[in-house]
C-alpha cells in the first residue's frame, strides 16, 4: 500500500537499526528517550521496536494519551453530567470505560439508562444538538492541540447557527507545558524527545525550542516504524554532534510554522488555564478553558456542576507511568486486576494508553 509500505520496509528498518547500533556504540552513557505521544507508544509495541534497539537506549512513554491524563475530578464531573436526564452526553469512545472515583464509568451508567452517545468529532455533537432540540447536548472535549482546534471550530459553528442546546465540557490540555515539567524532572533525566507528530502539525517546530536550549534533543517524529527509528537515529546524531535545532523527521505532515490558522481558531475560542493532570497534578497554563465570549457553551457554568470529592485509587500507579518513571509491568495491578476489560486506571483504558499498549503488545 503506497505511503504505508515504504514506512514499514524491512530493508529500511534494517539500515536504520545498523545506523542506530553504530551511533549507540559511541555513547559514553546510556540514554533515555521519551516518546511523548500515545500513538508512538502503540506503534513501538505493535512492531516490537523496543527489543530491536541496543541496550543503552531506553525508551520511556510520556503523557501523550488524552484519556490517560484526564483527571479523576473531570471524569467524576463527566459522570455527574451524563447522569442528568435532560442531557445527552457525547463523548469519544475511548472515554467510556474510564473508571471514576466510585467504580462507575460512562459505559456502566449508560447500561443503567444514561443517554450517552459516542461521536467521532465535536461537529457530530453539533449535529446531534440540531437533531434533538428538546435535549441538551454536552460534548466532552479532551485532547491536545491536535483536537482542540476542531472543537473550537464546532463552538464557532454552533454560535453561527445560533444553537443554544450545545455545550462543551472542556478538559483540553496543552503539550509544551507538561514537556517542560518532565524535562526538569531530576529523577527522569530525559536526553531526548520523540516529539508528537500530530500535535506538531498545529504548533510547529519552534514550540519545542525550550528543549534544545537545555541541550536535549527534540525530533518531531511520525508514527510508522521507519519514522520512529529515523527519529531515534536523529536524536543520537544530535546528542553525539551537539544539539543544534528542533528536527522534523515527520516532514510529510509537519511544517516548521505548524498551522497558524488552526491556532487562531483555537485562541479565539479558548484561553490557557492552570489545570489538573492525572498523576502530575496542577500544571500552570497547561489546559484550555472557554473564553468569556463563549461562556454560553460552557457546560460547567450552565449546569452548575457540583464539587465532587474524588478519590484516587492509590494502588494504581498510572501517575508514575505517565511520567515515564515506571513501566506498566512494575505496577502490582497490571495484568492481574487491571486489564483492558476491567481497567483500574485510564492508562489501561485508552487504545493509546501506555498500560493498554503493554498489555496488548506484551514484550518477551
Amino acid at each position: 500500500m503506497k505511503y504505508i509500505d515504504e514506512y514499514r520496509s524491512p530493508e529500511l528498518v534494517s539500515g536504520l537499526l545498523q545506523k542506530i547500533e553504530k551511533r549507540a556504540t559511541g555513547l559514553v552513557k546510556p540514554i533515555t528517550i521519551m516518546e511523548v505521544c500515545g500513538s508512538h507508544t502503540t506503534a513501538i509495541g505493535r512492531y516490537g521496536i523496543r527489543q530491536l534497539l541496543p541496550d543503552n537506549i531506553r525508551l520511556v512513554s510520556g503523557p501523550g494519551c488524552p484519556v490517560c491524563v484526564t483527571s479523576i475530578e473531570d471524569i467524576d464531573q463527566a459522570l455527574w453530567l451524563a447522569a442528568q436526564p435532560e442531557i445527552i452526553f457525547a463523548s469519544y469512545g475511548d472515554l467510556l470505560r474510564v473508571p471514576g472515583s466510585h467504580g462507575n464509568s460512562l459505559e456502566k451508567i449508560r447500561a443503567a439508562g444514561a443517554q450517552i452517545k459516542t461521536v467521532h468529532s465535536a461537529l457530530d455533537a453539533v449535529a446531534l444538538a440540531q437533531a434533538h432540540p428538546e435535549q441538551k447536548i454536552v460534548f466532552m472535549g479532551i485532547g491536545f492541540e491536535t483536537t482542540s482546534p476542531t472543537v473550537a471550530a464546532a463552538v464557532l459553528q454552533a454560535k453561527k447557527l445560533e444553537i443554544t442546546n450545545f455545550f462543551i465540557f472542556c478538559s483540553h490540555k496543552l503539550m509544551p507545558p507538561v514537556m517542560r515539567l518532565l524535562l526538569a524532572d531530576e529523577e527522569l533525566k530525559i536526553d531526548g524527545f520523540l516529539c508528537p507528530g500530530h500535535v506538531s502539525t498545529i504548533i510547529g517546530a519552534q514550540a519545542y525550542n525550550f528543549i534544545i536550549k537545555t541541550d536535549r534533543a527534540a525530533v518531531i517524529t511520525g508514527f510508522e516504524p521507519v519514522d520512529i527509528l529515523e527519529g531515534i537515529s536523529l536524536i543520537l546524531e544530535e546528542l553525539t554532534n551537539g544539539v543544534t535545532e528542533v528536527k522534523i523527521q515527520y516532514q510529510r505532515g509537519v511544517k516548521e510554522e505548524g498551522n497558524p490558522k488552526a491556532r487562531t481558531i483555537m485562541n479565539e475560542v479558548f484561553q490557557p488555564a492552570t489545570v489538573n493532570w492525572r498523576g502530575l497534578g496542577e500544571i500552570p497554563e497547561s489546559g484550555l478553558v472557554l473564553r468569556e465570549k463563549f461562556a454560553a457553551f460552557d457546560a460547567q457554568r450552565h449546569f452548575s456542576v457540583p464539587e465532587i470529592r474524588s478519590q484516587t485509587n492509590h494502588a494504581c500507579r498510572c501517575g508514575e507511568v505517565l511520567r515515564g518513571l515506571i513501566e506498566p509491568s512494575e505496577c502490582n495491578l497490571f495484568g492481574t486486576v487491571c486489564t483492558p476489560a476491567s481497567p483500574f486506571g485510564p492508562c489501561m483504558v485508552s487504545n493509546e494508553g501506555c498500560c493498554a499498549a503493554f498489555f496488548r503488545y506484551p514484550q518477551n
Binding site: 500500500m1 512492531y47 521496536i49 470505560r97 467504580g103 456502566k108 476489560a341 498489555f359 506484551p362 514484550q363
Partner: protein, 337 residues
C-alpha cells in the same frame, strides 16, 4: 452498579469468556459443555454427533456479500464443520420487531434457503416471535445445527501437536471490514465484500483426501489473532506466526489503517485456521488453492517444537520485531455477526 451486562460481555473476548465460565458453565456444568468448543460432541447409539447454536444480531441486516439470513446459515454450518462433522439439519428462530417490512424478511429467508441448499443442509424446524416496535432492531435470528461424524476422530484443540503447521484458507478481516464500512458513509467508492461462506464442502474435500487434520477453527469474532490465542491457551502449546505470511486484501488493509484496527483481529465468516503435520501442508495448500474458498490459502506459522510451553502466540512483525498475540480485550465492535 457493577453488576450490569455490558456490550463487551457479548464481544467474544475476555468478558464473554468470563461470563461463560462464571455463570453458564458454573450452572450448566456437564462433560459435553466443559470443553467449550464451538459445538458439543454427543454420542447417540454409538454415533458421534456435533450440536451447536448461534444467534445473529448483525447491524446492518444487509451488507456487501450477504445478509443476516445467509450469515445465520453459514455461521452455524461452519461451527459444525470445524469439529469434522458433516452438517445435516438446522433450526431457525426469529425475533422480529413489529413493523418490520415483510419484503425484507422474505429477502432474508430466501437467502437462508439458498445458503442452506448450497451447504447441503436442511432447515427442519423453527420458531417466530414478534416484539413491540423499539424492543428489537429489525430482526434477530438464532440457528442451531446438528452434524454427524461419518468416520475418524472428532477434531479439536486437544489434537494439536508440536511442530504442526498452521494454515489459513485466505485473506483475513473481510467480514469485519465489510460490516463496519457498510455502517459508515464515505466508503461507497471502495466496497469491501464479506467473506461469509459455508466451509463444510472444503473441509469435506480435505477429509476425502485423507488429510490428517488435527484441528480446525473458524476465525469469526476476535479474528484470526483471537482464535489462535484461544487455541494456544486451550491446547497449552506455543504458536509462532509471521505477519508477512498472513494474507490481507489491500482494501481491508486500507480500511484497517484508517480505523486504527488490525486485520488480525477483524472478524471473518468464511475463514478457518487449520493445524496439520508439516508433511501434509503442501497437499492441504494444493487442495485449498483449487477451491474458490481457498485460493489465497497460506501457511502462516507453526506450533513450537519446544517442550516448555506458556500457551501463547508470538508473531514476528513485518519489520522483524516480536510481539505476543493475545485475545482482544475490551475492544468493542458490537453486532458484527
Amino acid at each position: 452498579m457493577n453488576d450490569l451486562i455490558m456490550l463487551g460481555h457479548g464481544g467474544g473476548g475476555r468478558l464473554t469468556s468470563d461470563l461463560v465460565h462464571d455463570l453458564f458453565l458454573k450452572n450448566f456444568r456437564n462433560t459435553h459443555l466443559e470443553p467449550l468448543n464451538d459445538s458439543a460432541l454427543l454420542t447417540v447409539n454409538q454415533k458421534n454427533l456435533s450440536f451447536t447454536t448461534d444467534s445473529y444480531v448483525v447491524n446492518p441486516l444487509f451488507f456487501p456479500g450477504g445478509n443476516i439470513g445467509s450469515l445465520a446459515v453459514h455461521g452455524t454450518v461452519n461451527d459444525l464443520a470445524m469439529s469434522g462433522a458433516r452438517p445435516l439439519y438446522l433450526s431457525a428462530g426469529y425475533i422480529i420487531e413489529e413493523g418490520f417490512p415483510l419484503a425484507e424478511l422474505e429477502k432474508i429467508v430466501i437467502s437462508m434457503a439458498e445458503a442452506a441448499q448450497s451447504a447441503g443442509v436442511e432447515i427442519v424446524t423453527g420458531d417466530t416471535k414478534v416484539v413491540p416496535k423499539g424492543m428489537a432492531d429489525g430482526v434477530y435470528i438464532n440457528t442451531a445445527g446438528i452434524g454427524v461424524h461419518e468416520s475418524g476422530t472428532p477434531l479439536g484443540p486437544h489434537r494439536i501437536k508440536k511442530d504442526d503447521v498452521i494454515i489459513i484458507n485466505g485473506t483475513i478481516g473481510d467480514h469485519g471490514a465489510a460490516v463496519i464500512t457498510s455502517r459508515e458513509e464515505g466508503f461507497s467508492e471502495s466496497i469491501i465484500i464479506s467473506d461469509a461462506a459455508a466451509l463444510n464442502h472444503l473441509v469435506d474435500k480435505l477429509q476425502k483426501n485423507s488429510i490428517n487434520i488435527h484441528c480446525l477453527r473458524d476465525a469469526t469474532r476476535g479474528g484470526a489473532g483471537g482464535v489462535l490465542a484461544e487455541l494456544a491457551e486451550q491446547s497449552r502449546v506455543d504458536l509462532k506466526i509471521e505477519e508477512k505470511s498472513i494474507p490481507v486484501k489491500e482494501k481491508v488493509r486500507g480500511f484497517a489503517e484508517i480505523y486504527g484496527l488490525e486485520p488480525l483481529f477483524l472478524a471473518n465468516e468464511g475463514k478457518m485456521v487449520l493445524f496439520c503435520p508439516a508433511d501434509e501442508a503442501e497437499k492441504v495448500l494444493q487442495i485449498m488453492k483449487h477451491d474458490p474458498l481457498g485460493k489465497n490459502a497460506a501457511i502462516i506459522g507453526r506450533v513450537s517444537k519446544e517442550d516448555q510451553s506458556a500457551g501463547r502466540v508470538t508473531m514476528k512483525t513485518l519489520i522483524g520485531g516480536e510481539r505476543i498475540i493475545d485475545q482482544p480485550s475490551g475492544d468493542l465492535v458490537p453486532r458484527i455477526c
